[in-house]
Symmetry: C2
Subunit: 421 residues, 2 copies
């Protein structure tokens, strides 16, 4: 009976666990999934929680329920503190767990590139806590603007800055623009929510650098039609409670969101193995650690190939495919077959802008607008974990589409801290 | 143009606002609704959020959207600090607002009867923050029990104490019992969730003192069939991080919930008007303040009649009827007609126990079991604010009824504080 420990139940870990524990031809495995959270989170839709379109429970599900039909599998909610590679055991806060195979899939966290002090003023978008905190800040800004007599300060409250022009930043900015144009416009008397400024700030020469220039330009036009101003070539030099500082300019902003970068989980630093410059573990082509074929690293935590190869994007499809691949290799090995190298099948990428537009590129195919948005919608519903979540998200979206309403416009929690930040 | 200020958008305030601002025969009124929250909360279902059955957004709605079709009405999210009765103005953090009529409906908060230090260990159930905190504690207790090797401490973690045998305590305890029997039983390997102890602790001689003895006994049997142990005549003498102390006994408990009492909003203490022993404002039969006919106090904040009269129960129907009554009286006065005294039309009371049982008494009618539960369900759906909430709660309940699942089993937020407590 081999003991397999999977650390992290994100896309990589969850898919590895599902594939390994898959019923019938039951391998003689004892699988333990360890995660510091009790829930799997569908991160691609997290920005919709931040923008009050969906509730936290609609894009997440208890890891236990997702895996409850698997017999030879246990779930432990605790944080892994260190890995003893030589002794083949992991250490958590309260326990030491030995393994025969270890699968690490701890994901990534926000990267402020040395400016950790910006975190309280510009939460990122990696956890449900951060998403509800951003929601709280955005909605509170409107409420405060409504009762603020000073026009200067009102303008500051109604200025929203999204730092980082990747897909997350674009989706956030689009949703923000749309929310002020349509949803909130009806509800405020003294302020005109369409006067809200949404700034999307990008250090590089253009937004969505991973997309074709033409597609990115299309997205930029769509964003601008929602009232979003895009500032490129604008590296942020400081963020504080008052707003954002660029090289030659200061923006008074009530709400700032960080979507400018992530870095691998800090556990990597404790492994004592070679990392790339971003801190990702350099793994072999089968995703195992050099010298430790019993240890695999997947998802945002790992980098396949050398420093010179183009790294794979930090997206869900990579993690899902890697999780399944490692599971398949393990099963092959248990049947005495050799492992196979991981090859990423790129199925394309997409980003949505507001309520009914998106851009997509699949292979050589490029499409945009309403049709791309429909494809985006179908894919996201399909990959969402749990049938119930699919049903409820679909209902919420139908509702919002028809009414322009947003289902979860709740201000909860207090201002004194960023729970996830 | 008369200025009307309504403080608090609970059941009383919201219903007063809706009735006053009601369209056509438009009174010459300028209405301002002030609430420190942005949302109206349907408190009767708050325990379902604490028990992971519903999401916060499903039992609440932005006050703005609920009132957005009213023309002569504004909403301000801010906290009222004091009332200047002589000068006819209220003071908030940032503004002074003059009024011609003032309607106070600030509701109630948890009452620890002088033991405020118990609050962090035993959150009450008055806000969404408290509900999600209780949810976090209950679910975390199961997760910790699953990895706890020491049987003694495991038993403590799986002991849940509800203090207070009124309707809230009964509904909480029933939901807790059911959750461990059915929902969680499937998902844990090392612990047997049916071994969880749920204790309902009541200082008085029996639970549900506002119900008939026979109905209360029926509820007690139903609770016991869900594994809930009921301890009556057991006043709590101390609560700390380890559990609860009774006069002659200590209970090690990982989770304690406070449902033993509420008291009126602290604003009452600053009004300088006569209060009853519980701190409620003593109002005239038309709910106005003696000597200040332009000020009305409604809901949990007020007490109609003298100290000797039986006080009205602190339930939604009282608040709703009072809100509407004050609005009607104001409209009569504006048309030169005399005010009418408030008379509570008691439509009965009910409490639900678990997934398909309830007790109800309406006038001389008594019923219990599945039929009572169906009536409970229809009434709660009907009174829930917002059509969308009604639809989604109904869907959630249908889903849970069929699958025994609970839709919102999320652990979010940290252990270091009780947000609402």
């Amino acid at each position: 009976m081999k003991r397999v420990i999977i650390v992290g139940a994100g896309f990589a870990g969850l898919n590895a666990a599902r594939a390994l524990a898959r019923g019938r031809k039951a391998e003689p495995l004892e699988i333990t999934v360890v995660d510091r959270r009790n829930h799997h989170l569908f991160q691609p839709l997290l920005y919709q929680v931040a923008m009050a379109g969906l509730s936290p429970a609609e894009i997440s599900a208890p890891i236990r329920s997702l895996l409850s039909d698997r017999r030879n599998l246990r779930v432990r909610q605790e944080e892994v503190r260190s890995v003893d590679l030589a002794g083949r055991r992991i250490r958590t806060d309260g326990a030491e767990l030995p393994y025969d195979y270890l699968l690490l899939a701890c994901g990534a966290e926000d990267n402020y590139f040395g400016h950790e002090d910006w975190a309280p003023f510009a939460p990122g978008l990696k956890s449900l806590e951060q998403a509800t905190e951003i929601r709280r800040r955005v909605l509170t800004a409107y409420e405060q603007a409504e009762i603020e007599p000073d026009p200067e300060r009102r303008r500051g409250l109604l200025t929203f800055v999204v730092v980082g022009g990747g897909p997350t930043g674009v989706e956030l900015a689009g949703a923000l623009g749309e929310m002020s144009r349509f949803t909130l416009a009806r509800d405020f008397d003294r302020i005109d929510p369409t006067s809200a400024r949404v700034l999307l700030i990008e250090a590089g020469p253009r937004i969505l650098p991973s997309f074709d220039a033409a597609q990115a330009a299309r997205a930029a036009r769509d964003l601008e039609s929602l009232g979003v101003q895009i500032w490129t070539e604008s590296p942020v030099t400081a963020i504080d409670a008052e707003g954002v500082e660029l090289r030659r300019e200061r923006i008074q902003a009530g709400t700032v969101v960080w979507a400018a970068g992530v870095r691998p989980a800090p556990l990597n630093q404790k492994l004592g193995v070679p990392l790339d410059r971003q801190g990702r573990v350099l793994v072999e082509t089968d995703l195992s650690l050099k010298g430790h074929p019993e240890v695999f690293v997947m998802g945002d935590q790992a980098r396949v190939g050398g420093e010179d190869d183009e790294p794979l994007p930090g997206v869900a499809p990579v993690a899902i495919q890697q999780g399944r691949h490692v599971a398949r290799n393990l099963q092959r090995e248990l049947r005495g077959k050799p492992r196979e190298p991981f090859r990423y099948v790129d199925k394309g990428q997409m980003a949505t802008i507001g309520r009914r537009r998106a851009i997509a590129q699949v292979g050589r195919l490029r499409f945009a607008g309403f049709f791309a948005w429909l494809v985006w919608l179908v894919i996201h519903i399909y990959f969402l974990s749990g049938f119930k979540n699919r049903l409820f998200v679909m209902l919420q979206w139908t509702w919002s589409y028809v009414t322009f309403g947003r289902g979860a416009r709740l201000i909860v929690g207090r201002a004194d801290r960023v729970p996830g930040g």
